[in-house]
Symmetry: C2
Subunit: 235 residues, 2 copies
Amino acid sequence: MSKPGVVLLSGGLDSSTVVALAQRDGYDLHALSFSYGQRHTVELEAAKRVAAAAGIADHRIIEIDLGAFGGSALTDASIDVPKHASADDVEEGIPATYVPARNTVFLSFALAFAEVLGSSDIFIGVNAVDYSGYPDCRPEFVAAFQDLARIATKTGVEGSTEVTIHAPLMEMTKAQIAAAGTELGVDYSITTSCYDADSEGRACGRCDSCHLRHQGFVGAGLVDPTRYQPDAAPS
Amino acid sequence: MSKPGVVLLSGGLDSSTVVALAQRDGYDLHALSFSYGQRHTVELEAAKRVAAAAGIADHRIIEIDLGAFGGSALTDASIDVPKHASADDVEEGIPATYVPARNTVFLSFALAFAEVLGSSDIFIGVNAVDYSGYPDCRPEFVAAFQDLARIATKTGVEGSTEVTIHAPLMEMTKAQIAAAGTELGVDYSITTSCYDADSEGRACGRCDSCHLRHQGFVGAGLVDPTRYQPDAAPS
């Protein structure tokens, strides 16, 4: 019998691969996506396509007001999404696209969902190798959230089960991620990773996320199946 | 100069007292309340009254969909709020009014808000003495969240400041809380703690929260200023 699991699904390359890895390992997935005032609501359309393609029947989209606090290029229209000529050009430090405490908020909702489902397995596609500068994508963050989750819930009090936060991509390069997903049959053409996609979901080819993703396919010796805006495909 | 702080404000006895304690200690408070599908939306009206009375100019109300998962008498209309003849009658274990991962979700939003404000101080009115059976009201929960917060954010990466989760009521009895707030001038008549208040915000007098609150005033030798529904005042 398959085990219930909760997966955070953005509809990008990483979370789509996590879905495939968790299903390979026998989990019956329930997916959670967020509408959080981000510019890239086309992400949600991608998340729906990915959930449908993976046969996930229970996909919940939670509306949250993370944009109410401001402070990020992804939720605040007055801050520009940085564009770069190449991946080598990406700045050091924490980027403007960082959304304060985003993964903490997302995992908190996943924990609530898991508790109601009676699941003790939560999957998130964070990655520390192609390090994006986000504090909440580091292994120590995931470990700290797991520590918290184990005492924050009913099962923590009753000692019945211990929540595990699975971050299977943590130590993988983008090339390894693209290769693993391709082998498991993930159709990356339906996914969207771009921070600045157009209304048709086509990628800009110049943001940090586009650069990292494209280099992943190149590094894995795969054709990049991403749909780009006209003349925007990275060379 | 006063330090910025974020307070989780439900509009009940506990959080109203936390506001007074934090202001006494020199914090310039920004308040955060949630509309989360709870039955007691009258709570939000109480939170607004408390914020106004305390002179908090920045009070944000975040809409979240915690009820989408179900599983609690406070967010699911199909589950009854337990009523008891007296406080001695309150059941053991985790009550039906527990909302899965609620304080984890609330603190995550507070962390996002604090990060945007440049504040490293978050206040929450959880309490372990009059233990309500909620796993996320325990001292170890607060400590684990603080550990998480210190590595989940920009400041955690930069090592510039360390987030502190203040839970000043943790070791206080309800009587001590009522006495402390009264001494600091808190007007408890404008607060609402009841899980099942009517549309005018009047308390039912019979839920766990009403019992604990009433006993707090009695224990402190204070007149209970709560507005009850007709014939509902605890004896």
